[in-house]
Symmetry: C2
Subunit: 327 residues, 2 copies
């Protein structure tokens, strides 16, 4: 066991993951209001939306306009996602988007063909062009995401060895391009992870990656194990997580055709866990609950996170500032 | 770290914890149907209801009748709860109630006074009369529950040392009565536990208790840490848990006056975790999901458990029987 990190960084995915799966397009004013509330919480990065095809993802069609509306807070990175060159150029052209030059690798051939109409090997090869494009536009690759790293509904279990092979490809490409291996974000896209698989994955990645390479985890709470997976990753010293306010999001490939199958791990529940363990997040839980309430109001349905409904524990504690660590 | 148990026993609390907190009294036929579905799942104990005052808990007033209606499955214990001698005698008089002679200890004086109009010390003293009453009626004490063992909304954090003091009282009483220390069930009644506190608690109890004393955990998922607490307890080798189908239940003292604050850890999510870790439960997850659907139908509201909505993973696996352990 590596031991808990002293502090943890959460990247807020709610505005993107939460709204791109919705059947309706919620008013842009409401989404801007949610982002502004999130900006007050102390979270350091908010993924505002995606620069993707308005034909396929109409929910994200107004991302550029959303960037113009948000009330930027100092120290907060307002970032976005893109899937092709056009989207990236749109992000560059939009109003003060924090550019996170990312690479994306697949571990499931079936899922890759479905999403990208190419093999996972071809998709990995394409990342070389991204490295070049980022370089040409004056950006350094900051992160590399690995999708369905624990399992895929189309291919079943994803062997750890396959994930490691993909990481070796990334490392070779970085070496050839003369760049450092970026932050690696392991995504449990379809909710297959369990805490033991998380621990094994992290241990194997630490053995493989260059010393000091940061690892982040992107968990979905599809089958209720999200917070246990977070805890297992914390036990292994991981200090970077994606999460979504209120547990927004979901995966269209999970559940019984039920798009309301749970989404990302809820930011407020995750932050609560860290604080109870004595791990700093820089986030104000009460303000986070305010943002979760706004998210619930926008969605018009009871969200499935917990602390949103129950609140934290500090209001029952006489002197929260002096309580003993992790009790 | 002790290591996972080979198999785990879940005690199904849904019919009791889930319905006694409801504002309305759901038809007895529906509750009997739910219990019958639960009886098919492989779960070995179902807490059917409580023999308590119909004046204070009208939702449980028909518990004796419910026992007459259930379709008993071989190997399943249909048990009940009581809080005073009258309730116990009613349980004895009812139709084939599996008697679980239990003791109850408090760790919060304020909560004890509120519930029992006496101090926690007096309440502990009263357990001697229960030991006697059980003996007189030909029963051996089977379990001892410790309430609000991690924290209490009325008293704040409960120190581990106070829990250990209560356990010493129990041990002394057992010694004086010449009986073995029964199974100890540690209850996080108001949702204060975190996984590190769980690990510390179990380690300390193991040091204190006679070799071989079984420890069970009763977790509420009030603040989203329920499954992480379950995982932490499994890491420490605990093999007995209370849980509730669909995550039914709640605590009237938690939340923002919101009785729908999450209840017990959901049986289907908990069983899913165990199976993913390679731990046997003897429970059929698909049948459990059927029971969870019935619970949701009766409640008439979307339940907050996860596997109910997403399903398990075996349907995506080619040969679930031969898959490698805990992957």
């Amino acid at each position: 066991m590596t031991g808990f990190p002293k502090s943890v960084e959460f990247r807020e995915e709610g505005p993107r993951e939460g709204f791109q799966i919705e059947r309706t397009i919620h008013p842009i004013e409401q989404r801007a209001e949610l982002i502004d509330l999130l900006g007050e919480t102390g979270v350091r990065r908010i993924v505002v939306g995606s620069f993707v095809s308005p034909k396929y993802v109409p929910q994200m069609a107004d991302t550029a306009e959303l960037f113009e509306r948000i009330d930027r807070k100092p120290g907060v990175e307002y970032s976005a996602m893109w899937l092709n060159e056009k989207g990236f150029l749109n992000a560059l052209a939009a109003d003060r988007v924090h550019i996170d030059p990312m690479l994306i690798y697949y571990t499931s051939d079936a899922f890759c063909r479905r999403n990208n109409n190419c093999s996972m090997a071809d998709m990995a090869e394409r990342q070389k062009s991204w490295i070049e494009l980022y370089r040409e536009t004056g950006h350094a690759v900051a992160s590399a995401g690995i999708t369905t790293a624990f399992g895929c509904n189309f291919e079943g279990e994803i062997a750890l060895s396959r994930v490691l092979d993909v990481v070796r490809t990334l490392m070779r490409q970085c070496d050839e391009a003369g760049i450092a291996v970026p932050t690696l974000v392991i995504a449990d896209t379809m909710g297959w992870a369990n805490p033991e698989a998380v621990r094994r994955m992290i241990a194997a990645l630490r053995d493989l990656l260059p010393q000091g390479t940061r690892i982040g985890m992107h968990f979905h709470d599809t089958r209720g194990l999200g917070i246990a997976n977070l805890y297992a990753a914390l036990q292994m010293g991981i200090d970077l997580f994606d999460s979504a306010i209120g547990g927004l999001g979901g995966c269209p490939f999970s559940g019984y055709g039920d798009a309301r199958a749970a989404g990302n791990i809820a930011t407020e529940d995750s932050v609560f866990l860290c604080h109870e363990l004595g791990i700093e997040t820089g986030i104000d839980l009460e303000k986070l609950i305010d943002a979760a309430r706004k998210a619930q109001e926008i969605m018009g349905t009871r969200l499935m996170s917990r602390v949103l409904h129950s609140g934290g524990l500090d209001r029952f504690r006489p002197r929260p500032a002096t309580r003993s660590k992790a009790m």
